[in-house]
Symmetry: D2
Subunit: 342 residues, 4 copies
């Protein structure tokens, strides 16, 4: 078989390990051939790909990013888009199947293309850990590790100056990175999209920490919202193009906390360092196993399926069933962590 690989959407640590796992398994076990589509679906729609030989994946398991590049192109749009055009491109190039590594959007597109007859298998990618079909997704552990290391560092400087530090981590719709890094780093409050809080509640936690003689450390997911949005709006400014700006949530929370509690407060936004660089060992193992399992799914001709982690096992599930449900932090997990607040 000749198999095409693509990585789509925001990158995260482990993408290259998936590619390596798939290529080694395919070449060694099945004598498969591989090509890599450049920049996700864009390469598919434009027929832009390169051969991938065994030696091309050498040393990739520890390399961050994706050697294939990525984009947010929609495979149903543009001149070469849509199932027929794509199938024609595949036929012309003798490509038998596609392994699509991506998030909710990519997997949904993969399913629709599979419904239209294409041979596609999915590998879930979400650094936020927001896909319900898999216990954990690769990249998440690395992001938590990086955020935890940052929190460890921020705590010592917070204590030296008796400051409150608000650190913003990734998590647009779900708070997993904030929950785990906050728990690991011993945060005094963890604010996540699933659990809006009032500024009063947050300040209560912060003051209780100060009253015990410590420097408060607040971890906030970028998608967190205050219950009382009035407060948020009163702190908006204008952005670089003179449009109203809200700024990141940490940038807004820090002055609100300082104003209400009198505790000098600073914000830090971890940003892109959470998604770059070498994956943790956990993520390398998970990504390698998912890549290898995707080859099994290809040779089982399980089109429209995706590989996932369940407990300690890699399973194959139907994309149709897998997507569409956001993997939110359950109340029980937040309540468990909340005991440690304040």
């Amino acid at each position: 078989m000749k198999i095409g690989l693509l990585t789509s959407g925001g990158d995260c640590p482990g993408l290259n390990a998936v590619i390596r796992g798939a290529v080694l398994k395919g070449v060694i076990s099945h004598d498969a051939e591989f090509v890599g589509f450049r920049k996700g679906w864009k390469g598919v729609v434009e027929g832009d790909f390169m051969p991938i030989e065994r030696h091309d994946v050498r040393g990739l398991s520890k390399q961050g990013g994706t050697i294939l590049g990525s984009s947010r192109t929609n495979p149903f749009e543009g001149e070469g888009g849509g199932p027929e055009n794509i199938q024609r491109m595949l036929d012309e190039n003798g490509i038998d199947a596609i392994i699509a590594i991506g998030g909710e959007g990519t997997l949904t597109a993969a399913r629709r293309l599979t419904d239209a007859g294409l041979n596609i298998v999915g590998v879930p990618k979400t650094i936020d850990n927001d896909l319900a079909a898999t216990d954990y997704s690769f990249g998440f552990d690395t992001a938590v590790e990086i955020a935890t290391e940052a929190i460890d560092r921020l705590r010592t400087t917070a204590e030296s100056h008796g400051r409150c530090i608000v650190v913003e981590v990734m998590g647009r719709h779900v708070g997993w990175i904030a929950l785990h890094s906050g728990m690991a780093g011993g945060a005094h409050a963890i604010l996540i999209p699933e659990q809006p809080q009032s500024i009063d509640q947050i300040c209560e936690w912060v003051e209780s920490v100060r009253d015990r003689g410590r420097a408060p450390l607040v971890v906030v997911a970028e998608g967190f919202h205050l219950t009382d949005m009035e407060e948020a709006h009163s702190h908006k400014g204008l952005d670089a193009f003179n449009r109203p700006r809200l700024g990141g949530i940490a940038e807004r929370l820090a002055p609100m906390i300082e104003e209400r509690t009198g505790i000098e407060s600073r914000d830090t936004v971890l940003g892109h360092i959470q998604r770059g660089g070498a994956p943790s060992a956990y993520d390398r193992v998970l990504a390698t196993r998912l890549g290898m399992a995707a080859i099994d799914a290809v040779y089982a001709r399980a089109w429209g399926s995706m590989v996932t982690l369940r407990g300690t096992d890699i399973k194959t599930v139907s994309i149709a069933e897998a997507v569409g449900t956001l993997n939110v932090v359950p109340d029980a997990r937040y309540d468990e962590a909340r005991i440690l607040f304040g």
Copy 2:
């Protein structure tokens, strides 16, 4: 309630995080009191303990080792040993329950003491990940991370000199650390206790790597055995006290590989660095959750039970059912990794 904590057996990263999780949960949710027995069961048998207040666990989640100390004392032996003596000591000091953090031996002892009427709850500790009752145990992820980082480093020096490097990791009875760190580090052979191999097979893998122009990297668990023990014995020497010595497995394998393949070979034994230092974020979260869940088990008076990880959930299981089964690497997991050998 007044709850006694103990840590027993070889230490591993996360013990302090369990202690912190238990104490914070107990103090905040139940207004519990805590004491810590010094050096595992030794402190129980000798009635040697210290109070643990909330502020004593401050900052502990990231601290390696155990503030309580550890030993391999058997609670059924010695003057203060056995259920009656221990119960008397607990009564005299108003201690209502014990949370025992330890491995197979500690948990079995805990079960026997519980059978005799003592109030004990267990928390599984095994850096080797050899307890079948839990998907993963804390300390394991950290050990894998440290071993993987070492392998990453060893590869560059191996390549510079065209050498074969044999790196020995922990794993007396099971090969989980070798399997995961080897997979994460892209090892060319992974040797584990569950899967004895012949020296011929190992050299075949090593030569195949050399023939592709690369420097072979072999990861071996300390408990691995060759199928052809004659070979091993022919390389024994004498130890520091003039007794016959086998040396570690890596120390024996490296010269055998060099002798047979002609490839210059070196061994490295990671040893104690795998069990010391700050736990990974993964282990901190797992250990904190287990510590908190142990308090739930205490207040549910679930004596004789232990807390475990299943998928993403912390569960409570009966120690009686949980111990006695070694968590070996399944054939399927080894076969999965073996494809990448050579």
Copy 3:
């Protein structure tokens, strides 16, 4: 002797190692007694201090921040301020000398107090490495290491998406952190306060990188200024309190680069993570040696002197001569690095 220690100004990794070095050297070699003033000169002015015993400094060499706390209090101001009040407080408490660990401001104050008769020895602290009297100051190496690790991570995500990333590091008046981390991380442009550049020059570097098929990585010190400030101003907005805001330099540069070159650009501000957490081994050794040498200076009654690094030696110099000269990046060092730009 009874010696008082204080740490003043912004904290940085290594302060605790200085304290430990001084206390161990003093206790072991001279049987000295120690107290620590809380929050820098504030503790001196208010007579607020605590005893420091040998066991209090245990494990401190690797601990970030300062156990004494810090502030920006001026010792010449307030009720207990000024040389006479301070001398009276020292006499009343039997304190014979002060070791002041701080930056330009603290050292200048120390010199003035020494001129007025007080027994003070200085230890230079500047994470920016902006004091000319010492080859390197502790904290700097750690900051460079953290910034370099961040740059390593940012590069992989930049490459995956073909983006330009502008990363802002510390350096208000001098560009040492940017220079070293940029050189270590292989940055394509390094922008420092000592070397203003035009936006046209920056975009020329960025485009040249893109033309070679790579993702541009720009490191900018927080104190960098464009030569054409009009450009900067056209991108200003309003801050959270509706006052004109300039934002950080990275936040302003990224959209300017994107607008002019058409390359998608992102900014990341490393902020406080650069000054927190465990010091590098280099900084621990330097800080320990400086702390020990400060005791030598105290027992040599070299009041008004400070300890510094020259080559591989710790020297003692007069504060009066040492302060007042900013340790700027010399043109030759910038030219050396500039060859690698673009």
Copy 4:
């Protein structure tokens, strides 16, 4: 000019950064051409080299090892060895000059070849920091950092079990790595080749630590010798080939300490992990600067010179004057550290 590069002797972190610095500087500033000799002088003697283009050094600054390979071949031996043969090979291939990156042996050979008329410039490489001509050599800082991190980890497990841990670090003739990592890690005794100690003195330090309630941590350089060698010999065994073996120094010291003090003792040998993997930021900067300065020396036709670090400056010195003096740890530096022992 067409310049040949070679790396010789044991590898260390930063070799690739030197190569990258030299190639970028040469290509950008002088439009130079580069070739790399494979495996040190072996490639020179055998005329075995490969072209190095600008894109070949991409990303090299953070990569451990050497892309050129290394060996311990002597350029005066073998069929193609000696100045005339080498000059002929260079002439035949149009190679104008050689940059030789290596230790004492390589530099001495380079000087002799220069004396015979060859155009060679040297870059000092010694992970042990044993060359007197340079304040520090690249690779040393990384090795110290790795050893310090290991010591940090070993301390927590030592404390948990009340054990003495003896950790062996590199340093055959000089004790710099032991001195710096021991100081950074807060070791209770540092044993270096320059300062033989008796086993009685070592045990006195160890017992004093135990008496203060702590777990002793001893750092020993591989080249350390006891003053009373009888002791050492009484602990020898036989090696794998039945020849008398001494084992490593740590392996011998641990049982001696345990026997005499009654404190359970363990040894750990860090070995090859100290010389592999990504260089620290410090080493990347130093190596890059040395590589660039080597090009300056080439274009200055400063044959027979080598580049070195003096304070914060890169200087050029004559190899003839530079080699031959071992950079031992001065007594003053050992005395400084020794105060902290016990």
